[in-house]
Symmetry: C2
Subunit: 245 residues, 2 copies
Amino acid sequence: MKKIMPRPNRVYCTWAWLLYKEPMRILYHLWLSPSSRKVRIVLGEKKLEFELQLEKTWDRREGFLRLNPAGEVPVLVETNGTAISGGQVISEYLDELHPSLNLMGNGPLERAEVRRICLWFDEKFYAEVIQNLVTEKVMKRFLKQGVPDSNAIRAGKSNICHHLAYISYLVERRTWLAGEAFSLADISAGSHLSCVDYLGDVPWSDYPLAKDWYARIKLRPSFRTLLQDLIPGVQPPKHYQDLDF
Amino acid sequence: MKKIMPRPNRVYCTWAWLLYKEPMRILYHLWLSPSSRKVRIVLGEKKLEFELQLEKTWDRREGFLRLNPAGEVPVLVETNGTAISGGQVISEYLDELHPSLNLMGNGPLERAEVRRICLWFDEKFYAEVIQNLVTEKVMKRFLKQGVPDSNAIRAGKSNICHHLAYISYLVERRTWLAGEAFSLADISAGSHLSCVDYLGDVPWSDYPLAKDWYARIKLRPSFRTLLQDLIPGVQPPKHYQDLDF
């Protein structure tokens, strides 16, 4: 006679099922952190599920410092507990691990161009625009670091024009920022610009080519969920979520 | 009868040979730019020939801006004229193109760890140490931007201790910074530290583990040529080039 394996106790199973929670990928982020937004879009493009966890990095929480000794967001914690930190680092890690949708281009030269534009936004745009506008207008308020510096805001508003002109220059010659394919370069630039756009500080009407490129980015489902974020006490302008802005 | 191809005129050939110069890879750099040093070490590790070209980025030379619109060093121009810019970007490009010596690790997770430490030095160490020490003490003089800010120098000297402690923490647990193999993480950290060491501002004696790691870096031929740089008007301390410092 065939041996029948005992079936697990149903009552116990129901309890276990109620208590058991499928481990989920967690992304520690901050509202207007361009690097966090970048990883959210990459996760969305790759159709990878994740939970968002707001991390107030200024609290220097010990558990978070153990995940990333640099104390900065974004940090991605995989379901097995592996923690990866840094916007560009996590994005490239996800692209290597889930290559069905290629976001880095083909071959060393294409990848170098994607990375060059990512670096342009992560370093140059961040220093010249994000710090002068987002840090001054929003982060200073959260951190109670006094009133925004009007000189910095003026500088940020002037600097952004050079970047919009450069985006226009690129998309006049290419379909997307780094070439013919949508890539991490577009995601990086879009993440940064979306933070400034939340404050209504992007002079879109002066740069129709850049505006057209951003409208194409906004159409992507990975981007739409991100635009639904609302930051406590800071209202975005009317056009922020509109596809036809 | 077999048709004999005319041989080229010998006199002409000699002239052409005299005039002809084998195109060479060119690296545009600056003296105490950690990113430029990083690429020089990578080129050395990969045994790739190159010519160094000093680029005073503050002159905003038009020909250079055509190579890199960001106007920053390092920029690598390949023999076919292809220009690649950004320290991390060039390093990864060279590693992909010349993979015989792997500097990025194996698999997505190892590469993420190498990139995390590169980012730590390129962003965190740069902002907290390089800008407070190298920019204040050396670049301000070159750019005639006034006297160094003593508060910034004090902050830089205090900040470097945290980084040396973190290097010590890592090499207590691993052979090299990102794992068991020498990688771009060690090159990045070494490049940054060598710039501060040129000014004599690294308190090596307080961090014997970090000092031991740096002594191992200094032993590499790719690093030795770099330590022979002399910056006009700034003398390095005695121990700077010593292997047994």
